[in-house]
């Protein structure tokens, strides 16, 4: 239950969608009002959110045209891009919090696995 999964399918080619995930100007259109990104492993990601909160993060993984993973605050975020059909592309996001799930006990651990499967 420390994991959020969401996805959206858009009418665009994967390379155009990938650009929206890695180009600072385009990222500022949807991720947060102000975004700076060095699109490479170990590169810096700066995000200022609507409420003025600022975060400096690091790119953990980058698979060109496919997958971008970074850590922000106490969560890790993975964005991935998949072609689903001609001219349609799916973007999937998984955010996992660094909450101590092991401390939650068996009842919550069961809930965590159930939610990870179905709350997508």
């Amino acid at each position: 239950m420390n994991k959020v999964e969401r996805e959206i399918t858009v009418a665009a080619e994967p390379e155009d969608v990938w650009r929206a995930l890695t180009d600072e100007v385009l990222l500022s259109e949807w991720l947060a009002p102000e975004v700076e990104l060095e699109a490479e492993v170990g590169g810096e990601l700066y995000v200022r959110s609507e409420d003025g909160e600022e975060r400096w993060d690091t790119v953990d993984e980058l698979e060109e045209g496919r997958r971008l993973a970074f850590t922000w605050a106490d969560s890790s975020v993975e964005l991935s891009v998949d072609a689903v059909s001609d001219g349609r592309t799916r973007v999937r996001v998984v955010e996992t919090a660094a909450l101590p799930v092991s401390d939650w006990g068996p009842r919550l651990t069961a809930l965590a696995s159930a939610c990870a499967l179905t709350l997508a």
Binding site: M1, N2, V4, R6, E7, I8, V10, A11, A12, D16, V17, A20, L26, E29, W30, L31, A32, S75, V91, V93, E95, A97, L99, D103, W104, R107, L108, A110, L111, A112, A114, C115, T118, L119
Partner: protein
Amino acid sequence: MSDAVGPVFAALAHDTRRRVVQTLASGRGATATSLAADLPMTRQAVAKHLAALQRAELVRSARRGRETVYELKPGPLGEAASWLATVGGEWDERLERLGRLFA
């Protein structure tokens, strides 16, 4: 999944109820009327969702004068539910904006 988990799971699988949890998570308790003012739904709909969240033991209520005030139950379950609702809601909004770039 144990019987105790079923209702929680069902309660949070509903988008509107996640929004109720999200709203409760950001405040110090709310009434059905104040929630209905913040969310695009009627007081009756809010009351129904609050009842479901209460059955799932995610939310508790207390009488304050003539009002019933609802808040998230403290503890790991409430915290986890509030994190899920908040982070999930943020990504819903971001992906909606991303979708509009290609609309």
